[in-house]
Symmetry: C2
């Protein structure tokens, strides 16, 4: 074990910040999660993260690098965080520079969905794939792409924002004025809202909580027609965005993770059907739709793996 370097992955979320120590594909040690909202401003939170890293280093002194997955727009090259969704005080914050100063270790900062994509590509369902679309379905919709065996980052390392892509040029307005943003249709809350309305239209009163994706999935499996219709609608909208990824990037695999993906067949079956209906043969022939290997730990695993690779270690083991 001493030959294989360890890395710390940080999964920065709107509710909690989780940190773990990665050895190959396994998180071998977890820190107690930090409550994000207990810390006012970016600097206070980063100091707490540095403290937690210090605690983990006491257990594992041979940590070689730190990776942070950030729920927002991050310039991967410079480690500058442009903004963080749902957390105040994070505007144009030099995360890499500040955390490196505090920890004296090399730090890599990357969008959280790109970290998930990276985890699946290097350690999970997408190993060995040269052209890959990975997405994570939860409160929001995030994406990460691999093209020609490389992560797609783009001009300012901002690529992969599948949740902001449009499925309707006249549709719902997204966070950035973007009409038809996918996230505004199939985020956690939007699915629940759609279901509440569908039940109400059928004369049934249900709360948002009763219509959470987890509850809806259970009901759909038990042949609740309204729940099934809601999932068919989610599949139709998701298929539109994924079909676009196929026409544009012609991937070998689409990997789907995140809480909403746990719905399983009630989502995946109509999704595959909708893609089959809307792609030409050569695009379909080589395409696989795969569930993600990693669940809650995908962010930690991806951020830590990326940090190791950026620090010059071979992670294709």
């Amino acid at each position: 074990m001493s030959d294989t370097p360890l890395a710390i992955g940080i999964d920065f979320g709107g509710t909690t910040v989780k940190a773990g120590v990665l050895y190959r594909s396994n998180v071998i040690s977890n820190a107690k999660p930090i409550e994000t909202q207990n810390f006012q401003g970016a600097d206070a939170l980063v100091q707490e993260i540095a403290r937690v890293i210090g605690e983990l280093q006491k257990l594992h002194p041979n940590v070689a690098a730190i990776g942070v997955g950030v729920p927002g727009f991050v310039d991967f090259k410079t480690g500058l965080v442009h903004n963080v969704t749902n957390v105040e005080g994070w505007v144009r914050y030099p995360l890499k520079r500040r955390l490196e100063a505090l920890t004296k270790l090399p730090v890599t900062a990357e969008n959280d969905a790109n970290c998930m994509a990276y985890a699946e590509w290097k350690r999970g369902s997408g190993r060995g794939v040269k052209n890959l679309v990975a997405l994570t379905l939860g409160t929001g919709v995030g994406g990460g792409f691999v093209v020609n065996g490389q992560m797609v980052r783009g001009a300012k390392s901002l690529a992969g924002e599948l949740g902001q892509a449009s499925i309707d040029y006249q549709g719902r307005t997204g966070t950035y004025g973007n009409r038809g943003a996918l996230e505004k249709y199939i985020g956690n809350v939007q699915i629940a809202e759609t279901a509440v309305e569908a039940y109400a239209a059928a004369g049934e009163t249900k709360t948002l909580e009763e219509c959470s994706p987890a509850h809806l999935a259970k009901r759909a499996i038990r042949h609740d027609l309204i729940a099934q219709q809601v999932w068919n609608g989610v599949a139709e909208k998701l298929a539109c965005a994924l079909m676009n990824c196929c026409w544009l990037l012609n991937p070998e695999a689409i990997i789907i993770g995140g809480g909403v993906a746990r719905a399983g067949t009630v989502l995946f079956v109509p999704l595959e059907q909708a893609l089959q209906r809307q792609l030409s043969t050569p695009f379909k022939e080589s395409l696989r739709i795969l569930p993600a290997r990693f669940g809650n730990e995908a962010g930690i695993i991806g951020a830590a793996t990326l940090a190791l690779e950026e620090a010059g270690y071979n992670v294709d083991d």
Copy 2:
């Protein structure tokens, strides 16, 4: 000139097949166009193409490679043409193999929009750009992408089909069952049809010919409100597809060519506005919208340049 190799580019279209000899960025010799529909089946047409290549070689004996831009799905790696839009008899046709057998020269076959993208990237408006979206607006809508300084081809070299991507998950049905296919809204014919309807609604009778993009652009410049509205609608729909490319790929530049792009400001101004309204700041900061450098010759230039590069020559001159 003898040091710089020549290549022949073939621009295979539904109406004509054009061939030219490329020296650096210039087409120095053109063959008489072949009427596509005069030849029944792929083999007959390919034999005629080989004959025309032979004629060009009499004038320029030092041709090193042949590139063909094909209006359909082509597997770049194998040179297999899956199908050609609007030309019968082209299904799973081994174009590269057959044309190499006839000409004894290395042949490269590539999608025509990818050839256009390649021409602009290597010789035109996109020189030196590492992340690029190129599109061509005409009868259909084609695209080609550069990511991390490489062409995006995907699993079966089919990537870049921007015209098939959806702008409305419940929209018009495309050629492959794909709901909301961009091409079904802003192809040449669709623009004219939209305009005929808009004039009719205002009590004016106009023919499709009178509503061609070229005529519509002239009228819009002369402050014809209906023509301007039609172009605003084209811009809105195109912006949706290009915004998606930005969210997904974060390009430094979008290059727009093809006949419809000649509309100029009546298209480009509302297009830029619609993109400005629907992208977050860091995505916009580094983005340039550029007209293509090459017009009708883009296909020949791109196919020939690509063929030279595939044959091992340096084309970054």
